[in-house]
């Protein structure tokens, strides 16, 4: 099998082991299409992977992720690993993890939920990771994967 060559980045983040097909969604939720530092964003789709069969990879130049951003990735791509690159070397590597409580990054799918009408930070309790299921702290409605992805 030939190794796929994607140019290395000097400083930034490599998000690896994204389930195949979810790479674009990762770029979308992190708003990497509008990266303000002028850095390059590289997306590899359907790369052969020992672990996943096929995977997507996202490389972002000159950007390190906040905890909130890592939590967002976890919801879209729970298998993802985050590599922090400095001077072309991986200096830190960790797996994303879905937190017990998701604050601020998700909209409630219930159109009648108070969070759509008042100034309030949304809050969801993760009631199951596989399949992904969360409950709104305010209206108590549960949301499943499809609705969660649509409301990130």
């Amino acid at each position: 099998m030939t190794e796929l060559k994607v140019s290395a980045i000097r400083e930034g983040t490599v998000i690896d082991h994204i389930p195949a097909g979810k790479g674009l969604k990762v770029i979308e939720i992190l708003k990497l299409g509008r990266l303000s530092n002028g850095g390059a964003v590289l997306l590899a789709i359907n790369v052969p992977s020992k672990k996943l069969g096929r995977k997507d990879i996202v490389k972002v130049e000159g950007k390190f992720l906040s905890e909130e951003e890592v939590n967002k990735i976890a919801l879209v791509a729970p298998t993802a690993t985050v590599n922090i690159i400095r001077d072309y070397k991986v200096v830190e590597k960790f797996k994303v993890e879905i937190p017990d409580i998701i604050e601020g990054i998700l909209r409630c799918a219930n159109p009648n939920c108070i969070t759509h009408y008042e100034y309030v930070t949304t809050k969801f309790y993760v009631i199951s990771r596989e399949p992904l299921k969360v409950r709104c702290h305010y209206c108590e409605r549960t949301m499943e994967e499809e609705e969660i992805l649509a409301n990130l």
């Binding site: 939920c113 969070t115 209206c139």
Partner: protein, 308 residues
Amino acid sequence: MDWTGRDVISIRDFSKEDIEFVLSTAERLERELKEKGHLEYAKGKILATLFFEPSTRTRLSFESAMHRLGGSVIGFAEASTSSVKKGESLRDTIKTVEQYSDVIVIRHPKEGAARLAAEVAEVPVINAGDGSNQHPTQTLLDLYTIKKEFSKIDGLKIGLLGDLKYGRTVHSLAEALAFYDVELYLISPEMLRMPKHIVEELKERGVKVYETSDLEAVIGELDVLYVTRIQRERFPDEQEYLKVKGSYQVNCKVLEKAKEELRVMHPLPRVDEIHPEVDKTKHAIYFRQVFNGVPVRMALLGLVLGVI
């Protein structure tokens, strides 16, 4: 158990011990009220009732409860007559009203509004219904009614009839009943069955659950028949409503098959799901159920105010 300052937002926040504590406190207050006629526990305390959508019965029940505890009541019954109409946020309304009161009861058309109000307010907040989400005091008074009629809840066979899909009261009642050793008969038109996730949760929690659309086939088994209205306003589609409207009517003929001890409950108001001829039978307890709302709400008000 110290409840001072506690909010009452969702039946999900309650443990079985909490429920039992409220029920026994209600029982004590009902007895004291009967003996003395009037209580003074909440003397000098003010309840604010904020009804952003009208619900006269619930509001009167809370007001009656506060007056019977010796306290007083302020509030509004319709958002259109208050500053809310001018576009004030719920947050600001709550921050203002709490300056005038010791406890707030809120009813609001948006789900989650009561939870938000409780987070904003320093004083305790009691949820009197938020959209189609929660109405915990209704559930507590339903449990109180069952317990008063049978001196127990464990061991009973309880039928929930009507709109089990959209019906808020039956969802939280079923969840609360899961704390007890009961058998639940879920009786509804096929289209209005109890949501699957609730049925699964009930089974996981060890409740024996039977689902059917045939009331007459199971009525002979039941100790309690809890009837709900099929609510037009909850239906996203009028056609869907018309198909199930009037699916059930509990009348004396239907009740011929029932056990002598069967108790028929209803959160009221009813439309045509219980014929008025049933009112005179010993089965009907829905007006006693209304009365029971007062001691239960007295208990909650007194507990969160820390005065009983």
